[in-house]
């Protein structure tokens, strides 16, 4: 169940500069739990101390917002792509 997580540039310093991470997880929640173990700094940029997705971050699976699917329980299939979209303030 290998899926790809696309890491946006504002968060890459939190995972050694990687633009993509591959991991095996059956759901978005499980993918985040893996990030918490393997990339805690990246995880803390996505989720707050209570484990909720931060209010300025959006998660998409295959370019569809998880809010329109099953939220963190959205099931993942091999080859799925999770896109992280944080708010950007520069201009």
């Amino acid at each position: 169940m290998t899926v790809t997580i696309q890491v946006p540039p504002p968060l890459r310093s939190r995972c050694g500069g990687a633009s993509e991470l591959s991991l095996s997880a059956p759901s978005v929640r499980a993918a985040l739990e893996q990030l918490e173990r393997n990339h805690p700094a990246l995880y803390s940029g996505i989720c707050d101390e209570t484990g909720k997705v931060r209010r300025h971050v959006n998660l998409f699976v295959n370019k569809h917002h998880v809010r329109d699917r099953e939220g963190l329980d959205t099931a993942l299939a091999p080859g799925d792509v999770i896109t992280i979209l944080p708010a950007v303030s520069g201009g």
Partner: protein, 365 residues
């Protein structure tokens, strides 16, 4: 179907922009290449020439959007900016030059001068003011479209509140480094900014252009997409406005189009119609510190800062000290003292607008 009938059919949903005066509109020859573009044509150009847009912020994204809209022939463009032209702006803020830096010109003034020389048919009005809860209604009233070229979320959430409350379309755009994103917001039709980003990133959690840099080309592409959506709205082609978010990285050569999420039924702004930024109950608050040549900025959202993270970002920019209570950094002529509760004292100015600008740049919102 004739071309004219097709054009008329395509005009459905154009009620938000003013209709041109009766009879065949007089279109100046300078717009000939634009009216040849079938989806605009003479009628769309006439609508554009009768329209009024307001641009909030005239830095990187603002100078590009303003250039395109004024060259395209928008009727009126008001440009609101609280800042002055600095040398470090010239790498990406395409309306400004070295003379503007030497003359210490406010950006809104320098932009107005350049744009009037570019197209004397457009009413360009530069306004040197800070957009905040007490000025927003006066500064944004009566415009068909709001263009976002701000550099912080307090201002954007304020714009969003105003736009949703008044039903005015607006176009969010932002960039940092080589990365950027933009999407249009049509109140009542699309998600609003707070449906997508319910709150600002906690200070320190999001890089800013002053900590992570920014490239001219990402500014160009984000602002160009904003200007294109603006042209659709102002020429009466609202139905052609994209419903997707464009996310780009010019260093990687990537452009992703992501479905804009639908409106969030839990959205405090567009569903519950709580306009907390307009009412001044959310966002930052400033107070000039008497006799100290300093301004305190206080946040109302209760967010906590990671002081280690703030110190590591500010360290490369100037002498930085940290203890368990605060981070202190000397950057240019300013001293920033940032506390864990997000409060900051900006020394070296008594001007709240300058202090807010420094805070946005180096702490982030």
């Amino acid at each position: 179907m004739t071309a004219k009938a097709k054009e008329a059919k395509g005009r459905k949903g154009a009620a938000a922009t003013p209709a041109p005066a009766a009879g065949r509109p007089e279109i100046p020859a300078r717009y000939s290449r634009q009216i040849l573009f079938e989806e605009i044509g003479s009628e769309g150009q006439a609508r554009l020439m009768a329209s009024k847009a307001v641009l909030v912020g005239c830095g990187a994204l603002g100078t590009v959007q303003a250039s395109f809209l004024v060259r395209a022939g928008v009727g009126t463009l008001r440009i609101i900016d609280r800042d002055f032209v600095e040398e470090s702006n010239l790498q990406r803020q395409i309306l400004f030059d070295e003379e503007d830096v030497r003359a210490l010109l406010p950006k809104a003034v320098a932009a107005e001068k350049k744009l009037r020389a570019t197209n004397s048919l457009v009413r360009v009005e530069g306004v040197v003011e800070d957009l905040n809860a007490s000025t927003v209604a006066r500064l944004l009233d009566g415009f068909d479209l709001i263009l976002d070229a701000t550099d912080n979320f307090d201002a954007r959430f304020l714009l969003n509140d105003y736009a949703v409350k008044t039903g005015t379309p607006w176009i969010y755009g932002a960039c940092v480094g080589s990365y950027g994103l933009t999407f249009p917001i049509l109140p009542g039709e699309t998600a609003c900014l707070r449906c997508v980003f319910e709150s600002a990133p906690p200070p320190g959690l999001s890089p800013t252009c002053d900590t992570a840099g920014v490239l001219g080309p990402i500014v160009g592409i984000v602002a160009s997409l904003q200007a294109a959506e603006a042209l659709k709205i102002l020429t009466g082609r609202r139905e052609r406005v994209t419903r997707r978010m464009a996310v780009m990285d010019v260093w990687e050569g990537r452009l992703d189009l992501i479905d804009q999420p639908p409106r969030d039924p839990a959205c405090p702004c567009c569903f519950r119609r709580e306009f907390s930024y307009l009412e001044g109950t959310l966002g930052s608050d400033t107070a000039t510190m008497c006799g100290r040549n300093a301004v305190q900025i206080r946040r109302r959202d209760g967010l906590r800062l990671d002081l280690d993270e703030v110190a590591s970002r500010l360290g490369p920019l100037g002498a930085t000290e940290k203890n368990r209570f605060l981070v202190r950094a000397d950057i240019d002529q300013y001293r920033l003292t940032v506390f864990a509760d997000g409060r900051a004292i900006i020394s070296g100015t008594q001007d709240p607008a300058v202090a807010k600008s420094i805070y946005s740049r180096y702490v982030g919102t």
